[in-house]
């Protein structure tokens, strides 16, 4: 019997702890598929964040490092500088990357550090139970913005791809989503490009993945995917924000 669907080798054969309807599993799979397709598992080192995907170090079969909250790009910088032949990726959420780790994010981009960053933007802190994220939408109700995010009190969401695109450093910035089949296919393409860039020595590549968090958004998984189309994507338009190779 022909096998038409299998687990990627780079993805460990263990149950994931993510909530029903969470899109982390999809993105994990896409990353693992790309690692398989590029044949780089044996020289890939992943850096896990603090957040829902903290235990990603158990889910990938490549070597993995658990970083302190927000510091994954700095850790990845060390790993990459130690052996530039190795492929280094970080997998970070919005609180990790765009709040506590903003300095590490911006400066690794400014240095055009030859690493790949998978940035999960689901507009909420999931692991700690649904607090306001730097990317929570105006008016969004969370545990720490119970009356809706009041931009006069706590400012506006940070659009990471737009912001980083102002830097001369980064090679490639793209925002994708994983709320329908078409978007998942596009996300795979972007993630593959972000890894290929590193393999080809091109430099800092970040893919922002608009993701859902049905549990903390207080929605059914289906409704959460619709909410991405209705609320998230209008605020965070999908597309390529920087691609130096396309500029040439």
């Amino acid at each position: 019997m022909a096998v038409v669907f299998d687990k990627p080798h780079a993805l460990a054969d263990v149950p994931l702890h993510y909530c029903p309807g969470c899109t982390h599993g999809i993105v994990h799979r896409l990353v693992a598929e790309v690692i398989d397709e590029l044949g780089i598992e044996g020289r890939t080192i992943g850096v896990a964040p603090v957040g829902c995907s903290v235990m990603a170090y158990d889910y990938f079969n490549c070597d993995m490092i658990e970083a302190a909250h927000g510091r994954a790009p700095a850790v990845a910088t060390g790993v990459k500088r130690s052996d530039p032949e190795n492929i280094v990726f970080t997998y970070q959420g919005d609180g990790d990357l765009a709040s506590i780790g903003m300095a590490e994010t911006v400066h690794s981009a400014a240095r055009n550090e030859n690493i790949t960053i998978i940035f999960i933007n689901n507009a909420i802190y999931g692991m700690t139970g649904g607090q306001m994220a730097p990317t929570s939408l105006p008016g969004q109700v969370t545990q720490t913005s119970p009356y809706g995010r009041d931009t006069s009190l706590c400012g506006f969401p940070i659009k990471v791809c737009e912001m980083l695109s102002q830097l001369d450093g980064p090679e490639y910035l793209e925002r994708v989503a994983v709320n329908n089949v078409k978007n998942v296919k596009n996300a795979k393409k972007a993630i593959k490009k972000a890894f290929e860039n590193q393999v080809n020595g091109k430099g800092f590549s970040l893919v922002e993945v608009i993701s859902s968090c049905p549990t903390n958004w207080g929605m059914t998984p289906k409704k959460a995917l619709e909410w991405i189309d209705e609320k998230m994507i209008p605020y965070y338009p999908l597309g390529v924000y920087k691609d130096r190779s396309a500029e040439k």
Binding site: I45, D63, A67, A68, V75, G78, R81, S82, D83, E104
Partner: protein, 350 residues
């Protein structure tokens, strides 16, 4: 023996690190340790190494964490306020059992404090320095030669015990020049089968991690780590005794304070006062046995420090009530003069 050259303590640390096989340095400018970074910036590109000025001390220590995870020798350096920022990384390095060399060229505090020499980070260095159950090996050089020697030793100890070794120096040690002989070879290579440097598809994946959500598991790793600490306490204590044979008064001092104290002890001896010095070279593990042994015969102890009195707590623990322990100190960037220490010795001799 290699020809002696005059070098600043900060530069001696940097060159010794290179001789010890360190090829990765991450730092951030802060007085009075900046010469370490400047030296590395000059040397590393010429020997195929990495010098990177990080965006912050926090980033620098996490870059250290990344290189260490791959199994290579790596270091960072800073001064007091910067070490506080590195605290997070120091705890994670401990939790993940990663070796690293961290240099603290101390300045006065708290807060932004000043930039003149101090020893007021003693508590921070010897009691862990950040959250969680852990220690660092803390080495206290008292000369430029020792700045170099203890750097090499620090890398060896860090690798041997999979933990951070900290050089706890101060502004004078960093800034002063003395003749130094840099006659070091790279120490014995320690196998690091735990390193995350790529599976090569030849082994199960390695994970470098400090997260243990099951308390039973976290407790177990902490117990194991502290068993290792016991071995270190047994095997790695270093100290110098000076004129202790017949001493009735014992000065305890490290780093620059020990040198000021030696001047005072020489003068006191000339006046017939039987005084000696115990100089801890490892501040953790602390030479508690040597001090306890001295407490059997010495009548009085004086702890000489560039702080409000931090090491004195460890001296008192070791003396265990057998003799009075007094403090002779300056703080905030001031350095005790030999006259002040001599006065304390004379007072104790009354």
């Amino acid at each position: 023996m290699a020809e002696k050259v005059l070098m600043k303590g900060n530069e001696a640390i940097a060159e010794a690190a290179i001789l010890a096989g360190c090829r990765h340095y991450f730092g951030y400018p802060i007085t009075p340790q900046t010469e370490v970074a400047a030296y590395m910036a000059k040397r590393m590109p010429k020997i195929g190494g990495t010098f990177l000025q990080a965006e912050s001390e926090i980033a620098a220590i996490n870059m250290v964490y990344g290189v260490s995870a791959t199994g290579k020798r790596v270091m960072t350096s800073s001064s007091s306020p910067g070490i506080s920022l590195k605290g997070e990384g120091l705890s994670y390095l401990a939790g993940a059992d990663l070796p690293a060399l961290v240099v603290n060229v101390q300045r006065g505090g708290p807060g932004l404090g000043g930039i003149q020499p101090s020893q007021s980070d003693y508590f921070q260095a010897t009691k862990g320095g950040a959250h969680g159950d852990f220690h660092m090996i803390v080495l206290a050089p008292a000369s430029v030669q020792e700045m170099a020697e203890l750097t090499v030793k620090g890398f060896d100890l860090a690798d041997k015990y999979r933990m951070t070794a900290m050089i706890l120096a101060d502004g004078t040690m960093g800034q002063m020049m003395e003749p130094v002989s840099l006659d070091f070879a790279e120490g014995e290579k320690v196998e690091k089968p735990w390193a995350t440097n790529g599976t090569k598809m030849a082994r199960p994946h390695n994970v470098v991690n400090s997260l243990f959500l099951k308390p039973e598991q976290l407790e177990k790793t902490n117990f194991e780590r502290f068993e290792r600490y016991e071995t270190i306490k047994q095997n790695e204590v270093m100290y110098e005794e000076y004129m202790m044979e017949d001493a009735e008064i014992c000065v305890v001092a490290f780093g620059i304070a020990s040198r000021v104290s030696k001047n005072a002890i020489n003068e006191a001896r000339a006046k017939g006062i039987k005084v000696g010095l115990i100089r801890p070279i490892t501040l953790w593990p602390f030479p508690e046995k040597a001090i306890a042994a001295a407490a059997e015969k010495v009548k009085k102890f004086i702890s000489v420090e560039l702080s409000m009195g931090q090491m004195i707590e460890d001296v008192r623990l070791a003396v265990n009530g057998k003799a009075p322990v007094t403090l002779c100190n300056r703080t905030g960037g001031m350095i005790p003069e030999p006259e002040q220490v001599l006065a304390a010795i004379t007072e104790a001799a009354k």
